[in-house]
């Protein structure tokens, strides 16, 4: 019996290949967009993790000198003798490759990722020329010398080697940059302040810094992937709903012929599971292609924005395949739940003819309207009160689902009004007929609504990010040139040399501290017009810089303000001194708290810190000659100078790459929505003939009918776009003001970009018009014999 029933069920798809294609394509596209984004995220995270594993970031506490100078071997030896389980690390860059030198015998993580690589041999690692481990590209960039061992687990553009080899390659014999502190330490150690008072301990913050810094970017990508997936699931839901409706008579017949309902449902579920497997497989493969195409731009974005190195090529990761298939199964289950529910409750003697697609009619429309209202009210309440990630996502979910449910009702009301206002019988028929089409098209239009809202939301967010970040760069990179000295003596020579040659020398100096119980970094800023002219505050007292310069004021970043609850005029205690908060500034991308004091107050609190970095103010045109002079006269290599104009140019270039990624995702999502419209129109085409035949019989030509179909699709897309715009802006606001704040502790200001929205609207209309073109053309060419059948008993 099972085989017979299964054959009967599957025969439906053989006879309705377009429906099968819709279902498989919808599911495959949804899975592709989701898994493509996940693949990019997974690849980037794997890169951060391997970098963190290499460098011990996030996992182990680190010891460094408070003045930023290299450690001495004596300090290391003293600590080891005192029982401290620490391991030295020396790192630096050679020919663009980051060289990390570890001591494999004492490193708590062994050789980092290398220990699991083939060819890891501690003997060879330590002896002779030694070995360097890394990816092929990084190894190729290194000069000949140590044996090169390829290891894909090492972070991109990084090689790992023995500390001695690293020091030799970098020309830094005997220098140690930091010490990794093992998690488990012997009891009764002498305190650090006794053995090596010049060292400070940086506590691991769980997870790599890179991971946390880039989480915002990945969270937003994930949100986009999820919305794209939702758009695809709307298509699947439509296809499954239509297939189940069309098969109601068959289901009734099968049951009348003796097939138990439970068996029937199990077989239909199996049928869908099989399709989910096929479509999920195709989707994951497509996702791989999408990710491969987008990853180089994403990698460049992350490198530029956060300094995070991500491999530009994709690896096949089993977890990613599994999650892609799981989301395909989950999506199918979600999309078919309602259809199965109806099937389970279908009485055996219920009407056998396909039920009219009347989502928006009668009782179901009232239920839908009530549900939409409840969700939108809930979204409104959450918008006012939401705090935390869960509430943020609940806000996003209730807002989007509520709007999708409300859309058919809104459109129905608008069309009803147009029908009432229309003059002429043809216009009246057009509006009435468009209303009649709404239930059948509502899922596709909801998909378009979500796609457009996602595009408006994400574009607004990314563009706001760009504006804010470039403004932030102007503020933070106000100096025309940044120079780093090798040591205090070098710094003194530098300052003496440049002071008569530039308008201002601004030392950049910082020290770790605890403020209101939270880890923070305190900076000492020289009182200069640079800060007064360029810094913008989220909130500040009048004459902020005067108050700071007077020595009693302090500025804090937004993260610290939100976490500690500190606000204007609150007191902050540092080293026994009290400072009043004079201003709160935006500090985008920084995971920890930050505070700024005037230079004098800083030096009084941290007399051991000697600034090695300086910002120099001079006419931009003079920068190249000064760089050359510094190299020739002071011996500071050009590599130790950073030209502000160069950084800004690179940053803008990076943003353009970010736009490439989001534009590609925008177009993909709109394509999926356009596909949803196409499929809805094609599947409705058969139902349209009886509706249009009377109009044809009464004098409308087939060409006119086809044209009106096209106009109808574009009109519905326009109306949907008008609803999508405020929804998209609300989505952007929720992402920026709720989700971002909950996730990262800082809020991006929101800007509006009307031209972008107009362009997006144009894309959406184009997608709708293209989608309607073929069904309209087919309708215009419907043979008169098919139209005549409507009036014949033979139908």
């Amino acid at each position: 019996m099972t085989g017979t029933v299964l054959r009967a069920l599957l025969s439906h798809w053989r006879r309705n290949p377009l429906q099968l294609f819709t279902l498989l394509a919808g599911l495959a596209l949804a899975t592709a967009l989701w898994s493509g984004v996940q693949a990019i995220n997974a690849e980037a995270r794997a890169s951060y993790d391997s970098a963190a594993a290499t460098l011990g970031e996030g996992t182990f506490d680190q010891l460094t000198r408070s003045d930023g100078q290299p450690l001495t071997v004596a300090s290391y030896v003293a600590l080891r003798r005192a029982g401290w389980l620490v391991s030295p690390v020396t790192e630096g860059r050679l020919d663009g490759v980051r060289i990390v030198g570890l001591d494999p015998l004492t490193a708590p993580g062994g050789l980092g990722p290398v220990q699991i690589a083939d060819g890891a041999d501690v003997g060879a690692f330590l002896s002779g020329q030694g070995q360097v481990f890394g990816r092929a590209a990084a190894l190729a960039a290194l000069p000949a010398g140590p044996e090169k061992v390829e290891s894909p687990d090492v972070a991109p553009d990084t090689v790992i080697t023995d500390i001695g080899v690293a020091q030799r390659l970098l020309g830094r014999d005997g220098q140690i940059d930091r010490l990794i502190v093992a998690m488990t330490q012997p009891i009764g150690q002498a305190p650090l302040s006794e053995i090596a008072p010049e060292l400070i301990r940086k506590v691991a913050q769980g997870g790599s810094d890179l991971g946390r810094l880039t989480d915002s970017f990945h969270l937003n990508l994930t949100a986009f992937g999820l919305l794209s997936f939702a758009v695809g699931i709307f298509i699947v839901n439509g296809a499954i709903g239509l297939a189940f409706e069309q098969r109601r008579p068959v289901v009734r017949t099968l049951r009348a012929l003796g097939v138990p309902l439970r068996r029937l449902m199990v077989l239909m579920a199996l049928e869908l599971a099989l399709m989910a497997l096929v479509a999920g497989g195709i989707g994951v493969a497509l996702g791989y292609v999408i990710a491969s195409l987008l990853l180089p731009d994403v990698a460049a974005t992350l490198q530029g924005l956060y300094g995070a190195t991500v491999a530009g090529t994709l690896q096949l990761r089993p977890v990613w395949w599994a999650s892609g298939l799981a989301i395909a199964f989950g999506g199918t289950a979600m999309a078919s739940a309602a259809a199965f529910w109806r099937l389970a409750r279908l009485p055996l003697l219920a009407g056998g003819s396909p039920r009219a697609l009347s989502m928006a009619a009668g009782r179901s429309a009232r239920v839908q309207g009530a549900l939409a209202l409840v969700l939108l009210v809930a979204a409104g309440a959450l918008a006012l009160t939401a705090q935390g990630l869960v509430a943020g996502f609940a806000l996003l979910g209730s807002m989007l689902i509520g709007a999708a449910l409300a859309l058919p009702l809104i459109l129905d009301r608008v069309l009803a009004m147009a029908e009432r206002l229309s003059r002429g019988v043809r216009a009246q028929w057009f509006w009435a007929d468009t209303r009649q089409q709404l239930p059948g098209l509502s899922l596709a239009l909801a998909a378009l609504l979500l796609a457009m809202a996602a595009n408006v939301g994400v574009s607004t967010m990314v563009s706001s990010f760009r504006l804010t970040f470039t403004g932030f760069l102007d503020q933070r990179l106000a100096s025309e040139l940044y120079v780093t000295a090798a040591d205090p003596a070098d710094a003194k020579r530098l300052v003496d040399y440049v002071t008569p040659r530039v308008r201002a020398v601004l030392p950049i100096q910082s020290a770790p501290a605890q403020i209101a119980g939270f880890p923070a970094e305190v900076f000492g800023a020289r009182d200069d017009a640079t800060y007064r002219d360029n810094w913008a505050f989220l909130s500040a007292n009048p004459d902020t810089w005067d108050a700071v310069a007077a020595g009693d004021g302090i500025l804090i970043n937004e993260q610290l303000s939100r976490r500690s609850g500190l606000s204007l005029n609150d007191a902050v205690t540092l080293g026994g001194r009290q400072f009043a908060v004079e201003g709160v500034y935006g500090d985008y991308g920084n995971p920890i708290g930050q505070a700024i004091l005037t230079e004098a107050a800083f030096e009084a609190l941290y007399p051991d810190v000697t600034p090695l970095r300086f910002g120099l103010r001079l006419p931009a045109a003079e920068v190249p000659s000064l760089v050359e002079a510094l190299e020739n006269d002071v011996g500071i290599p050009a590599a130790n100078t950073v030209n502000q104009a160069g950084i800004k140019r690179i940053s803008l270039d990076i943003f353009d790459r970010t736009f490439t990624v989001t534009t590609a995702l925008n177009i993909l999502t709109l394509t999926v929505a356009g596909f949803a419209i196409l499929m809805s129109l094609l599947t409705l085409a058969a139902l349209r003939v009886p509706q249009l035949a009377p109009a044809w019989a009464m004098g409308l030509t087939r060409r006119e009918l086809g044209l009106l179909e096209l106009v109808r699709a574009v009109l519905l897309a326009v109306l949907t776009a008008l609803v999508a715009l405020p929804l998209g802006l609300a989505l952007a606001w929720a992402l920026l003001a709720v989700v971002n704040v909950a996730a990262f502790g800082w809020r991006l200001p929101m800007f509006l970009f009307p031209l972008d929205y107009l362009r997006l609207g144009g894309f959406a209309l184009l997608a709708a018009a293209l989608a309607a073109l073929w069904p309209a053309w087919r309708l215009a060419r419907t043979p008169p014999s098919d139209l005549l059948k409507v009036f014949s008993n033979e139908r």
Partner: protein, 218 residues
């Protein structure tokens, strides 16, 4: 006795209150016997047929079919009965549109696990369907579709054939032809036939005839 119906009752809830469709129906049918059930619209003919076919559940009374008390069966038991013992010919044919004629004819026999290819070929030939076997139902006329439905019903050789206005959708000539074939084949298989019809002329061709009026046998 193939079928015994005793004091069968069925009530439907309507907007105007409960409506007693069947108010104590008694009837019986022997194997190989044909019985016409007539009555005006709303008299409960189709409801009675659905109850005997295990498609619906009575509110009172008993139906014993081939020695089994249908009213004592659960949903799965009634499904098995429909699969293996009863065959129903519907007015609306209820063919599976995505299957070819040949597969539609064999469908119920396969469900019942009693598929006999030679018998299906015989049925198709006697129904005049051999040239149509590779076609889909939508490519057939109404009379041809009903002949496919009858062949499907008879393919597993059911003990009882129930026919609900089987010629209601056909013109007079096609109706006469289809009925003649059905009677011939039912007689050949030795099944009992209970047919609901409005037509006195068709009812006259059955061995027995019962008239249902306001939920009771008149």
């Amino acid at each position: 006795m193939l079928l015994t119906v005793t004091d069968l009752r069925k009530t439907y809830a309507t907007a105007d209150g409960d409506f007693d469709v069947l108010r104590g129906v008694d009837l019986s049918l022997d194997a190989g016997q044909t019985l016409a059930l007539t009555g005006e619209s709303g008299s409960g003919k189709s409801t009675l047929l659905h109850l005997i076919g295990g498609l619906d559940v009575p509110d009172g009374g008993r139906i014993v079919l081939d020695g089994t008390d249908l009213t004592a069966l659960d949903d799965a038991g009634r499904a098995r009965m429909r699969r293996e013992t009863v065959g129903v010919v519907f007015q609306q044919f209820n063919l599976i549109p995505s299957l070819r004629v040949v597969d539609n004819i064999a469908f119920q026999a396969r469900l019942a696990g009693r598929h006999d290819g030679a018998w299906c070929d015989t049925l198709a030939e006697r129904m005049g369907l051999t040239p149509q076997l590779r076609k889909y139902p939508e490519q057939l006329s109404g009379g041809q579709q009903q002949r496919v439905a009858i062949a499907r019903t008879l393919a597993p050789r059911p003990r009882l054939v129930l026919a609900d206005e089987p010629t209601g959708n056909l013109d007079e000539a096609a109706a006469a032809q289809v009925l003649a074939l059905m009677l011939e084949l039912v007689t050949d298989t030795g099944a009992g036939l209970l047919m609901v019809t409005h037509s006195d002329r068709l009812a006259g061709q059955m061995q027995r005839r019962l008239h249902l009026s306001r939920g009771v046998i008149a």
